[in-house]
């Protein structure tokens, strides 16, 4: 093999054989890291399920909290979490998507919108306990909703609003310009082009953002405790103004007790949380696939 001299490594036999080696070394290294991370996660989840799954029986799901570990059930907490998710869905999703549509489609590109964008990005990173303090003052006291599931839901909505806005904006940005232009060139108003074409096209991305938001909201404990969710509630919420508890709070309550049986309950509660999260994600994946096929 003749040597072709180039500014880079000469095409010698040694160099050619060396290249694949360093490449495969890098691939091996990457695989190792990924496996390590996944292994760690698997161990965590498996350990959790081993602890918690034995407790998965009907009485656990329908029962109410009790001082006796074997009789303690998760029904009020489960219902509380579902109520919270419902309230977040009703408030945070339209507000977040609407804000994203306004910022992306209607707002003039000046320093004010730039300032708002910066703030939203920062708000996404603010510790959620601060939202709890805000919720306490604003919803519990000023609005007078007391320590109800409505206050909790609204507080959580604030926590996840920046997440939804950012994800929705990304999704809107990814809609091809040609789609908007096609609609506008036919004499559509901006709202018509957004509602009929841009939003449907951005829906998979927005959906993913919403699922991310729900996943975050369902696990948030600090803001709920700060705004006063009680750790011992015996009934599921019946109205938006009812007192409430949530899955992570119930788990926290049980973990804090010395008896091992309660720890089992806590593991079961957290497993249930994971199951709910997994269900959300599966629904989102299915919906995305369906919508993307249509597009």
């Amino acid at each position: 093999m003749s040597e072709i001299s180039t500014p880079h490594t000469p095409l010698t036999r040694r160099n050619i054989l060396a290249r694949p080696q360093s490449e495969s070394l890098f691939v091996a290294f990457s695989l190792l890291i990924v496996s390590g991370a996944l292994l760690f996660l698997c161990v965590l989840i498996v350990q959790l399920l081993i602890d918690g799954l034995p407790r998965f029986e009907l009485s656990f799901f329908t029962g109410t909290p009790s001082r006796i570990a074997e009789r303690a059930g998760i029904f009020p907490a489960l219902m509380g979490s579902l109520w919270l998710m419902g309230i977040v869905a009703i408030f945070a999703v339209p507000l977040g998507v609407g804000a994203a549509v306004y910022l992306e489609e209607y707002a003039p590109k000046n320093w004010l919108t730039g300032f708002i964008e910066l703030n939203i990005a920062n708000l996404a990173g603010v510790p959620s306990i601060i939202y709890g303090l805000l919720g306490l003052q604003l919803f519990v006291r000023i609005c007078g909703f007391e320590r109800s599931v409505l206050s909790g839901g609204l507080t959580l909505s604030l926590v996840v609003l920046p997440v939804i806005i950012i994800a929705a904006r990304e999704a809107l940005r990814n809609v091809p310009k040609s789609l908007r232009e096609g609609a506008l060139a036919l004499g559509a108003t901006q709202w018509q082009s957004i509602f009929h074409h841009v939003l449907p096209n951005a829906t998979p991305g927005i959906l993913t953002g919403c699922i991310l938001a729900f996943s975050r909201a369902i696990g948030e404990t600090a803001p709920l405790i700060t705004m006063g969710a009680l750790t011992y509630v015996a009934t599921a919420p019946s109205t938006p103004l009812s007192a409430f508890t949530a899955l992570p709070i119930q788990a926290f309550n049980w973990i804090s007790r010395p008896q091992a049986a309660f720890h089992t309950n806590a593991a079961a509660a957290i497993s249930l949380l994971l199951v709910v999260l997994l269900t959300f994600n599966i629904i989102a994946v299915i919906l995305r696939a369906k919508l993307e096929r249509r597009n």
Binding site: K109, S178, L186, G187, N295
Partner: protein, 273 residues
């Protein structure tokens, strides 16, 4: 001058069938300058586009012909920092006046884009979208309009059995004809075409050109093209742009056989471009 005659074959001017008298408009452009922010893209353009004729805009890449085309239906409004000086009048109305309804302007001045952009909906819904947003809700009426427009766009025979299939499954040439049908469905007076065949194979291109030949009877058509032979084939009048300025505009046959400006002659004889 003789070089132009040998290099470019200019077909004899086609005679037109009598034009439908209603809904054909003329465009008058007066001393138009156009800016993207601080950068000036068009300089002092004065042009009159007669009603019922096909006008071609030719010129090298980046000369501003697409930008200028988009000023005629205010599609440039979508670009931040876009600014126009001078006036553009469509059928006697200044379209950049404060009182202009841009939405109804775009209904009267339709546009077909370089890369076909059908909506990710069915073929029927694509064509019916325009009439629907302008108030047509009667199912029979919509079906009539869709059939008529698909026929005029020379696409009906190919899609009549699958009107509710997705438009994205059509070939490139079919998609472009669908976009033309979609533009026709809102009954515009003027049709702007921004290099409609540049992304298509020669056979599809020929079909589009035949289509323009048919549509010229009822619409004023402005077509931007980088293909001079195409301009010579389809248009009545041609305008040559260069570096944001209108260099020359005249009867197509005249421009290609006896151009007045040297730059025009250089371009059409291929000395640059």
């Amino acid at each position: 001058m003789n070089q132009s005659q040998t290099i470019l074959q200019v077909p004899t001017v086609k005679s037109h069938a009598p034009k439908t008298a209603d809904a054909i408009a003329a465009v008058t452009v007066n001393h138009v300058g156009f800016f993207y922010g601080a950068h000036q893209a068009l300089f002092d353009i004065c042009l009159n586009i007669p009603a019922g004729e096909v006008m071609a805009f030719i010129g090298p890449s980046g000369c501003g012909k697409s930008t200028f085309l988009r000023t005629l239906n205010r599609m440039n409004d979508l670009i931040a920092g876009a600014r126009l000086t001078g006036s553009v009048t469509v059928a006697g109305e200044d379209i950049y006046a404060n009182s202009t309804d841009v939405v109804s302007l775009r209904k009267r001045v339709g546009m077909v884009f370089q890369k076909s952009n059908p909506f990710p909906k069915s073929i029927f819904d694509n064509v019916a979208y325009g009439p629907r947003i302008h108030g047509v809700s009667n199912k029979n009426e919509l079906e009539e309009i869709v059939e008529l427009c698909l026929m005029r766009a020379d696409l009906w025979s190919e899609v009549k059995d699958r009107l509710f299939a997705s438009a994205l499954n059509l070939s490139g040439g079919q998609q472009q004809r669908l976009c033309i049908a979609r533009a026709l469905a809102v009954k515009p007076e003027i049709l702007l075409m921004d290099e409609p065949a540049s992304a298509l194979d020669p056979r599809s291109t020929a079909r589009i050109e035949d289509l323009i030949g048919e549509l010229r009877k009822d619409f004023t058509i402005v077509i931007v093209t980088h293909n001079m032979q195409q301009a010579a084939r389809v248009s009545d009048r041609t305008a040559f742009f260069f570096e944001g300025k209108l260099i020359e505009e005249s009867d197509t046959r005249q421009l290609f056989t006896k151009p007045v400006q040297k730059q025009t002659e250089d371009y059409i004889t291929g000395r640059f471009g």
